[in-house]
């Protein structure tokens, strides 16, 4: 199993212990995960993420193929198309995009362009609903959560688009999923790093209604405890213990 939602590097709004690839590898061993897709956390807050991407590539090269880079590409920055080519050449399985942090509206055509170009290159777009609970944010952290409308807009952009949406809760997932056609639904997978388990059993309800094929394993490490998604799987009702999640390496398979 692969953890699609991991990051390295510091976070601007609070201290995070050891956000380093060496530690991530130990976490993967402990959690019995085969690999991780890794982003560069500070890049979400850089105006130009290209230096962050360069750092990500160089840091992870010695950890390939277990750690795969997921660079950050902002489509309102000149030359972003070249960053997509570089991502593909570096073996990235996906690229990260942060529309709220870049103040891009939910229907911004540049985000759709990015999704289409990435889709043609076999790269998924990884979206982050939030980094932290809204109740604890730093006063300067005013970007807000990614809106469901933004995910809908991208999912509808074209049939080659693939989205990995992380850090969403049940209501968000349901709103997006049921606002898409069956074909569009298949373009979107979700991690469950922020989905509640028992006693409300949001995760179990989503698996029953939307299906395991729409979910991938993601922890949101190093912001959140890596043990959380595994705990969520373990606490599913017995009849769901054999649930099969999507394989993130096969998002583009037909």
């Amino acid at each position: 199993m692969i953890d699609v939602n991991t990051l390295i590097g510091p976070y601007p709004f609070r201290y995070i212990p050891h956000p380093d690839p060496d530690v991530l590898l130990r976490v993967l061993d402990r959690e019995e995960l085969s690999g991780a897709w890794v982003g560069h956390l500070p890049s979400a807050f850089y105006r130009d993420p290209s230096q962050g991407n360069a750092q990500l590539y160089s840091t992870l090269v010695s950890h390939a193929p277990r750690l795969r880079p997921v660079p950050t590409i902002r489509p309102d920055w000149p030359g972003w198309e070249g960053a997509v080519v570089a991502a593909r050449d570096a073996g990235a399985p996906a690229v990260r995009a942060y529309p709220p942090q870049w103040q891009l509206a939910p229907d911004d055509s540049r985000m759709r362009d990015l999704a289409l170009v990435c889709g043609d290159a076999g790269l998924a777009i990884l979206l982050t609903i939030r980094f932290e609970d809204v109740r604890q944010r730093h006063p300067l952290d005013v970007a807000g959560d990614l809106q469901a409308a933004a995910v809908r807009s991208l999912a509808r952009a074209g049939e080659r688009v693939r989205l990995i949406v992380t850090a969403a809760g049940r209501e968000f997932i349901e709103e997006v999923h049921w606002s898409l056609t069956p074909d569009e639904q298949k373009r979107v997978v979700w991690d469950f790093s922020w989905v509640w388990g028992p006693p409300e059993d949001h995760f179990a309800k989503l698996l029953r209604t939307i299906g395991g094929a729409r979910f991938v394993f993601g922890s949101h490490w190093p912001l959140r405890l890596s043990q959380n998604p595994r705990a969520n799987l373990e606490l599913l009702p017995k009849e769901m213990s054999e649930v099969r999640l999507a394989d993130p390496d096969r998002l583009f398979a037909r």
């Binding site: 006063p139 409300e200 043990q227």
Partner: protein, 281 residues
């Protein structure tokens, strides 16, 4: 016998909460608890959880109905479920009556939500009864309130510290460090107030939160709990074991020994009691 595990912050629902799935939610808590090895759910019901009156400002009728439902759950499940009696300090006579009524039937503590700020004088009679019966008070907390939030008169660690200094003989449990807000502020606010302990429940599973809690408060001032997200409780339990933060003895304290010391032996036996922490005078 496996090591006890006490959930110091649990909730159940009842028929009057306006949810058709209320019994499923209760069953899910017990199912997950069995899987996790929870030996005692120390639980409360906050009135009708918003159906007839607001969750954090429950009417007297709702408070009584919720407490009655908790008493019934205790009768049904024996030692697996213990109750905290919920009260709304704005209705002082009723609150005091509920405490006396439910303690006589086995309540092991008092639950205060957010009906009145922690440092408000109306909370003093509640503390008086806590002293009289030797009960802890679990107080709903917003970690670092920077403004008012709707539908609750929220308190934070600093507010609770004022109350705790006024009542040094009461153990106050600062609720859910993972339940929203800036837990680091709470740790700083209560670090030097030894009769405040904290429970680790809540949906937040920030890396670094447990580390900071152990460093700031020490393992004898932490209680394990889940609140309304049990998977985050299990994750924290694993994290305590995996991070190397705490010794095996410290983990036992957090898992159950502190809870047994604070709530009393009806939540767990104490075969290997450690010296009491110096918090309560």
């Amino acid at each position: 016998m496996t090591e006890p595990l006490i959930d110091a912050h649990a909730h159940f629902l009842h028929e009057g909460c306006g949810r058709s799935d209320w019994s499923d939610v209760n069953a899910a808590r017990l199912r997950a608890g069995e899987r996790m090895g929870i030996t005692c759910h120390v639980a409360s019901i906050l009135g009708s959880f918003g159906f007839h009156s607001p969750t954090y400002f429950p009417s007297p009728d709702d408070v009584t109905a919720g407490n009655d439902a908790m008493l019934a759950l205790c009768r049904q499940h024996g030692s697996l479920v213990r109750m905290l009696v919920t009260v709304n300090p704005n209705h002082s006579t009723h609150a005091r009556g509920e405490i006396e009524r439910c303690v006589a039937k086995g309540a092991v503590g008092i639950k205060l939500a957010a009906s009145r700020r922690a440092d408000d004088p109306l909370v003093d009679p509640i503390c008086g009864l806590a002293v009289k019966h030797g009960l802890p008070i679990l107080h709903h907390i917003w970690q670092h309130r920077r403004r008012d939030w709707p539908n609750q008169e929220i308190s934070d660690g600093a507010d609770l510290a004022v109350l705790a200094r006024r009542h040094p003989n009461v153990t106050l449990i600062l609720a859910h460090i993972g339940g929203g807000g800036d837990y680091l502020h709470s740790f700083a606010a209560v670090r030097d107030v030894p009769n405040i302990v904290a429970d680790v429940s809540g949906s937040g599973v920030d890396r670094g939160m447990l580390d900071a809690a152990v460093v700031s408060l020490g393992s004898q001032r932490l209680l394990w709990g889940s609140d309304i997200t049990m998977e985050t409780g299990l994750a924290k339990l694993r994290a305590l074991e995996n991070t190397g933060l705490s010794t095996a003895d410290d983990i036992k304290d957090i898992r159950w020994r502190n809870a047994a010391r604070i709530f009393g032996e009806s939540v767990a036996p104490l075969p290997a009691r450690r010296p009491p922490h110096p918090g309560r005078k």
